[in-house]
């Protein structure tokens, strides 16, 4: 390779070969995996939500707690929260350049995604187990 060709990556970055996220292609792949999963799961979730519109709490609780509906909603929540954690991390890495602010926001992002995932899953499981 000729030396006068400009490269966006520094020689050290080329040697390390891991990019700005320092984690290789794992997140890239997971983002696509969850994107594919999100399509049928979102369609299913929208159908479920439309079915529940205008019903009272007892009916909503009964339908949401049914095994098939609950499992679809749990898969939906799991796939969506993984996808959104990675997406928001990419946005943070793109726009926040101060190292400590960036790491703080990435941590907050992970906490948010996990909190939303567990809170939603708690609601679904509570309905399903009828506690």
């Amino acid at each position: 390779m000729s030396d006068n060709v400009k490269h966006i990556r520094t020689p050290l970055a080329r040697v390390r070969g891991r990019g700005a996220a320092r984690s290789g292609t794992r997140d890239f792949w997971r983002q696509r995996l969850t994107a594919v999963a999100n399509i049928p799961l979102t369609i299913a979730a929208i159908i479920i939500i439309i079915m529940l519109l205008g019903r009272n709490q007892a009916a909503v609780a009964q339908i949401l707690g049914a095994p098939l509906v609950a499992i679809i909603m749990l898969l939906f929540v799991a796939s969506v929260t993984v996808h959104m954690r990675i997406g928001m991390q990419v946005i943070i890495e793109d726009y926040v350049h101060d190292e400590s602010t960036k790491l703080t926001l990435i941590m907050a992002n992970t906490f948010f995604a996990i909190a939303v995932a567990l809170a939603s899953a708690f609601g679904i499981l509570k309905l399903s187990f009828g506690v």
């Binding site: 979102t42 439309i50 079915m51 519109l53 709490q57 929540v77 959104m84 946005i91 939603s120 509570k126």
Partner: protein, 136 residues
């Protein structure tokens, strides 16, 4: 003896203000914005699920929010945001296969993304309002 090298000369990419606004680039920006919208929209989803599991009083509070004008506007925006991001995501998955990069293809895909997301959102809301027994 160690040689001190000047930092590698790296090319800089021109930023947004250089370009004339185009549909494809607006759709790219909107994809990111709808992603952020969906991110915070999950709070509404979590609230709904917890309210449903908590009991009639908690669910009545959620229904009050969802039925209010502000709630309706937020939920309509959230619906569009989810649909737009999903169609945009399908566009990205098509690109991941190496297809859809031609000048006419990418314009067509961007336009279809926008028109499709608005149409689907309106249809979903008509179905939803009918399911609730008409607009109230």
């Amino acid at each position: 003896m160690a040689e001190i090298k000047a930092p590698a000369e790296r090319p800089l990419s021109p930023h947004l203000q250089i370009y004339r606004p185009m549909l494809t680039m607006m759709m790219s920006i909107v994809h990111r914005i709808t992603g952020i919208g969906n991110y915070f929209g999950t709070l509404i989803l979590a609230w709904w699920l917890i309210a449903a599991s908590a009991g009639p009083n908690a669910y009545a509070k959620f229904e009050w929010f969802a039925g209010s004008i502000i709630g309706r506007v937020i939920l309509f925006g959230y619906t569009w945001s989810v649909i737009h991001h999903m169609l945009g995501g399908i566009r990205h998955l098509i690109w991941d296969t190496g297809r859809g990069f031609g000048p006419s293809e990418r314009e067509w895909l961007a336009a279809a993304n926008l028109v499709g997301s608005i149409a689907i959102t309106v249809v979903l809301w008509i179905v939803g309002l009918l399911a609730m027994g008409g607009p109230r």
